[in-house]
């Protein structure tokens, strides 16, 4: 026997192995067939040998040749021989060959039954594995019948590796031998809840495939699958489940309704195209089933419409062009009876407008405004129209006369709440678009004239706010008025007294302005009676306002009344006063950026923080103070004086602001790129104001009709186009090179449409803070406050980015722990200090801790599942690793702050990042008011290549006893020199229970009382093989799990921590050799269990 083996291996040395064969074939390109036929002869010789190794080698080569298209069926028996070898190496090759070469009509398959059965029950899981894999390829009805029982037993095998294979192969068995389905099904169903995700997904796969053939039998599983669908985070499995539902819904229409919500959630949140596609597929299936199975046919169409619009809004973000072509369809949806569909359509329209279609879209919307029933929807329409028109600095408006007339038309709406919106738009446009002022003034004058139309039923009518704007515009730009006298009279009508106080005040003030203008025009005349009559008119009418209940109106009116009386006296003496009266209101109004105030230096000697009067006592009521309705207050033309900047004062104020920001956990640092030197900004003159007047005045008497502008605009564009064409023709004539571009054909592009008026755009380049000084200062501050931290924040220029967890944090756990406890105790020592200072110190302290925390404490790694792998893998655009930290909020037990560090690892610029999380019932991302539950939060910075920055997000948490994972997506735009693409990244946020714990110091007596109280449930955990000094271990628990040490005696220590919701967690840690016993008590057993699990995990990772 021994001789045989030796002989075999000597023979073997002269054989070709597979690699030799492949190489040989590649070297004999010309006479491949001949070479292979000699090889096959050799193989035949090898197969005749007794040595199994030689045979296996031969079979392996045959498998390769089979792939090249050579018939190897003659060797089927040898394959079976190799399969039945007891060595895994050969068995593996044998089964591979069998799975490649055998088919149902291969007769030797019958011989394999017993061998396979033997392998299935092999103690080696990989023997069983290859047998199952092979069987899956060549299973015949006979094999299925004979082996079904064995495979069923394997479905409950202890190893998940075998279980999942057995589950999957059952599908093949069912197909070949359907009788096995009934007995096997209960076990299959069981596997849906298998603890191993692989087995679970295999079971889902099988049932999904079965259900597609005969869905009826699987309806009963729907609730189970529904649960799986809402809980699973595995996209592969989700797709199958959703597919299954697609098969089930035609049979059970009620299911469709239930599915809509989770499906929409998925559509909203996923970035995996395949999952999205499957969702949409199923939604369609659901819809078809709804429409066929249910009597109310229209409901399904509505659902379809809604989802369609939803999908479009998703597409719109990345491919606006493709959605724009469906404009008409979307406009049709505005006619829908269902309000939610209409609102969706409106949302879409907002993103769809361009210079070209703005007028048309708004025209359609105006029609709907007229038709609309119900004020809420009409108000929504109104705000949308204004939003659409005013978005990004009136970017899409080419004709402002049209816009003004739209606004005026909107004032005819009854009962809207949004009068102030229209008013502020009017003001904004009139101030910023100089060319439009004359037109605007004319319109406003008509409006004032017809004020009685607007104020039909004054009390609940918000539209009268418009009069505020109208009065102000008429007064301020009165030089453009055709007939100021008439307007003046309109403004002084007795009916005005019924308007709200703040509007009356504006009326009075602007009446004075108008009066000045009128005087000026009348004084030139030889006849002075006209001027005197005007004064008389004022004197007659103003007392009405002097009696007003509103203080502001009263004050202004009496002021102006006295002034006019004085003027009248002068007039009677034939003194020319117009000049001087006009001087009262002289000066040009310029638009100013909202942040411009910051640029104005504070005059020397002015302490803004000093009280001018003694602070008011709290009992003083605030009712009497007039409310400011608009952000824009009455304009005053006093220019700020420019004085030298007081360095000290500036520094002091900066300090105060820094403190404020540092103490505000939601304050996010701007990127250092927005650096500004403070002193270089002396005054308002330096605010760049783009002023280009390009007027196309069109006089339209009476109330404007916006429609005519649509026509006019069309004509204007045509003219422009024609001119352009001419130019192009000229160019062509000049060039004659034959490379003429097709300028004249095709629709004009966005850029070709030039606006008729230009908006004064105030470039907002004012920084909020000058970061250069800020960050430098801050560091020195930190250093001085560091309380002897072992490692000062020297490397803090770089934002902390740790790619892996333990490496950094492990370095000095003791030191970290000490530093932390030092930091905690510090404020206590300062108890003798003055109250206010102490508070400041504490704040600073907290800030330092926070910062230290970010630098050195890296508790979690954001795990990002990348289902749509080609998106990210091919380009490596964005680093998949981000480090984040979850901290409970001390003040509010239901809030958790998550700090996320975004690092850009690619070479492109990343911008417009949007962070979104799919809320669970328990944990919700806090979004600003007014945004929907699926809206993302904009990340307030952009990332140049290689830069990282940190943002914080606030979550509200209801229950903190369980850890939680939230799925989320980050969308962002990747900008290269030549292109920019929209990308998405999926990630998961793990809220561990530890993150809800807050390090809270506890004294030993209080600790003892707490333990005695008996309210606490206890639990314990044992950590094996912990190979570190005890103080390291404690530091580690303190550090990673937010505990503080209460007392330590030798190898035993008590620790304490408190959750954000006030649960006490007490630990007793004892060590003996390499074993650590942690006995724990807490008033919430679930929380305790989870915290202990997390502690265990921490130590299992070291």
């Amino acid at each position: 026997m021994a001789l045989k083996i030796v002989k075999g291996s000597i023979d073997r040395m002269f054989d070709k192995n597979l690699q030799d064969l492949v190489r040989g074939i590649r070297n004999h390109k010309e006479d491949e067939a001949k070479y292979i036929s000699t090889c096959i002869d050799e193989i035949k010789q090898e197969l005749k040998q007794d040595n199994i190794a030689v045979k296996a080698n031969a079979v392996c080569k045959l498998t390769y040749l089979q792939m090249l298209g050579y018939d190897v069926s003659w060797a089927a028996f040898n394959i079976v021989e190799v399969m039945s070898s007891s060595k895994f190496t050969y068995k593996r090759i044998g089964y591979l060959a069998a799975s490649q070469c055998f088919h149902e009509s291969t007769d030797v398959i019958m011989l394999t039954t017993n061998q396979i059965r033997k392998d299935l029950s092999s103690p080696n899981q990989y023997d069983t594995g290859v047998a199952l894999t092979g069987l899956s390829c060549f299973v015949t009805p006979d094999l299925a019948r004979d082996l079904a029982n064995d495979i069923m037993t394997l479905m409950s095998h202890t190893k998940p590796y075998i279980r999942k294979k057995a589950v999957l192969i059952m599908y093949k068995v069912f197909l070949k031998y359907p009788e096995s389905l009934r007995p096997a099904f209960p076990r299959l169903k069981e596997k849906l809840e298998d603890p191993d995700p692989g087995v679970q997904s295999a079971a889902v796969n099988v049932i999904c495939e079965l259900a597609r053939r005969n869905p009826k039998n699987y309806l009963s599983l729907a609730p189970l699958f529904f649960k799986l669908m809402t809980s699973s985070t595995n996209n592969w499995v989700l797709i199958k489940i959703i597919k299954l539902f697609g098969a089930l819904t035609p049979l059970e229409p009620r299911l469709g309704k239930k599915l809509i919500e989770p499906l929409t959630n998925l559509i909203h949140s996923t970035s995996a195209m395949s999952l999205l596609y499957e969702c949409v597929n199923t939604v369609i299936a659901v819809l078809i089933s709804l429409s066929s199975g249910m009597p109310n046919h229209s409901a399904s169409i509505q659902v379809m419409k809604y989802l369609g619009l939803l999908a479009m809004s998703k597409i719109l973000k990345t491919h606006p062009k493709s959605v724009q072509s469906h404009k008409d369809l979307i406009l049709q949806c505005l006619d829908d009876k269902d309000e939610s569909i209409r609102l969706r359509a409106l949302d879409l329209l907002y993103g769809m407008v361009s210079k070209k279609n703005l007028m048309e879209i708004v025209k359609k919307l105006m029609l709907h405004v007229d038709k609309a029933e119900g004020t809420t929807y009409r108000d929504e329409l109104l705000t949308k129209i204004i939003d659409i028109c005013s978005q990004s600095n009136y970017q899409y408006i080419t004709n402002f006369e049209w816009y003004i007339s739209i606004l005026v038309e909107l004032t005819r709406l009854e009962g809207t709440r949004h009068g102030h919106l229209i008013a502020s738009q009017m003001l904004d446009v009139a101030i910023r678009v100089k060319a439009i002022r004359a037109f605007a003034v004319a319109q406003m004058a008509t409006l004032l004239d017809n004020a009685h139309l607007l104020t039909g039923n004054m009390q609940r009518n918000g539209i009268c706010e418009v009069l505020y704007a109208a009065a102000w515009i008429c007064g301020e730009f009165s030089e453009h008025l055709e007939n100021p006298m008439q307007t003046l009279e309109a403004m002084l009508r007795p009916k005005v007294a019924t308007l709200p106080g703040h509007i009356q005040a504006v009326y009075v003030q602007n009446a004075a302005k108008l009066f000045a203008t009128v005087l000026k025009s009348q004084e030139g005349n030889t006849d002075s009676t006209a001027a005197q009559e005007t004064s008389q008119l004022m004197i007659d009418r103003l007392p009405l306002f002097v009696q007003s209940a509103n203080l502001e109106v009263q004050e202004r009116a009496s002021c102006i009344l006295q002034l006019v009386k004085y003027i009248q006296k002068l007039q009677q003496k034939d003194v020319e006063v117009a000049e001087e009266v006009n001087a009262l209101f002289a000066g040009e109004l310029n638009p100013v950026a909202p942040k411009a105030q910051k640029k104005v230096p504070v005059p020397e000697g002015l302490d803004l923080d000093a009280w001018i009067n003694e602070p008011p006592s709290e009992s003083e009521s605030e009712d009497e103070q007039p409310k400011a309705i608009f952000a824009k207050e009455e304009p005053k033309h006093s220019r700020p004086r420019h004085t030298e900047v007081d360095e000290k004062e500036l520094a002091r104020r900066r300090e105060v602001r820094k403190q404020e920001q540092a103490n505000n956990p939601f304050y996010i640092k701007a990127s250092p790129s927005s650096q500004k030197v403070y002193q270089d900004t002396p005054g308002v003159e330096h605010i760049p104001v783009v002023q280009i007047d390009l007027s196309v005045p069109l006089k339209v008497p009476g109330l404007p009709m916006s429609d005519q502008y649509v026509k006019l605009e069309e004509e204007r564009r045509q003219k422009e186009r024609a001119e352009k064409k001419k130019k192009v023709k000229k160019n062509r004539k000049e060039k004659r090179s034959g490379r003429g571009k097709k300028h004249d054909s095709g629709p004009e592009s966005e850029e070709d449409i030039t606006p008729a008026h230009l908006v004064d755009i105030v470039t907002e380049e004012m920084p909020e803070v000058c970061w250069s000084c800020y960050s430098q200062k801050q560091h020195s501050n930190c250093l001085s406050l560091c309380f002897g931290f072992p490692r000062p924040l020297a490397d803090s220029e770089k934002l902390p980015v740790r790619s892996h967890r333990a490496a950094e944090a492990l370095k000095s756990p003791v030191e970290d722990g000490d530093a932390r406890s030092a930091a905690i105790q510090e404020p206590k020592k300062k108890s003798s200090k003055e109250k206010r200072e102490k508070k400041k110190d504490k704040d600073r302290d907290r800030k330092v801790k926070l910062k230290y925390f970010f630098e050195n404490y890296v508790p979690f790694i954001l795990k990002i599942a990348l289902p749509s792998v080609y998106l990210v893998d091919e380009t490596m655009l964005f680093s998949p690793i981000k480090v984040y930290d979850i901290q409970g909020n001390l003040q509010d037990g239901s809030q958790v702050v998550v700090s996320v560090i975004f690092e850009n690892k690619c070479d492109s610029f990343l911008k417009s990042m949007e962070f979104n999380v799919l809320d669970s019932l328990n944990t919700k991302l806090q979004r600003p008011e007014g945004s929907g539950p699926h809206d993302g939060l904009a990340v307030p910075f952009q990332l140049p290549p290689g830069v990282s920055n940190e943002a914080q997000f606030v979550f509200t948490v209801q229950s903190i006893v369980m850890p939680q994972k939230l799925k989320g997506t980050l969308t962002f735009i990747v900008k290269n020199e030549d292109s920019s693409t929209h990308e998405k990244l999926d990630f998961k946020l793990h809220f561990t229970c530890t993150s809800y714990l807050i390090t809270t110091p506890c004294y030993s007596d209080a600790f003892a009382k707490l333990l005695e109280s008996g309210d606490l449930k206890s639990s314990s955990v044992r950590l094996e093989g912990v190979n570190m000094p005890f103080h390291h271990l404690l530091a580690r628990i303190c550090f990673h799990h937010h505990f503080s040490v209460v007392e330590r005696i030798d190898s035993c220590a008590s620790m304490y921590s408190r959750s954000v919701q006030g649960h006490h967690v007490c630990l007793l840690v004892k060590t003996a050799g390499q074993t650590v016993n942690v006995d724990a008590k807490c008033d919430e057993p679930t929380l305790l269990g989870n915290v202990l699990d997390e502690i265990k995990q921490t130590f299992s990772q070291c």
Partner: protein, 153 residues
């Protein structure tokens, strides 16, 4: 999934896996058809085509075409992900996989596939789990080979 084929741009078959058993003649015909259809398509075309009553999903990675056939109700995008995942697995196992790796270690390529797909269904969605299984099976095989003191394939 009914079958998975890997073939080169020159029309050489590199790997074939049939999840529904066919006779050799049928297989040859299918392979010929697939190559004709897929290789004729320009690169910018979409990755899907209809063939008889099956949907064909293919994707080209370097010089290799990965081509799979699925039922009409199946999800094409999911199949693309499956193909990509298989490439990732190969890549992980061979370390920057190239066509030659698959030619010379074609049985390994099959073993990887067997751990990932079974009977045309996804067996294991976790890359790590597949890697572990392969490694364990390989050590099993290699120790046996060492025992027999023969060079590894």
């Amino acid at each position: 999934m009914h079958f998975l084929l890997l073939f080169s741009r020159q029309g050489k078959l590199r790997l074939q896996k049939w999840f529904t058993p066919l006779t050799d003649r049928e297989k040859k015909k299918v392979i010929r058809d697939m190559m004709m259809l897929v290789l004729a398509r320009p690169q910018r075309f979409c990755n899907f085509l209809q063939w008889r009553d099956l949907k064909i999903v293919y994707k080209r990675y370097a010089s290799l075409y990965f081509c799979a056939a699925l039922d009409n109700q199946d999800n094409e995008l999911l199949t693309l992900e499956v193909l990509h995942r298989y490439v990732e697995l190969l890549d992980k196992y061979f370390g920057n996989v190239c066509e030659l790796d698959i030619i010379f270690n074609f049985e390994k390529a099959y073993f990887i596939l067997d751990e990932f797909l079974m009977g045309g269904e996804i067996l294991e969605t976790s890359k790590a789990a597949v890697g572990v299984c392969l490694e364990e099976a390989d050590t099993l095989q290699e120790t046996v080979e060492e025992y027999m003191s023969k060079p590894a394939y």
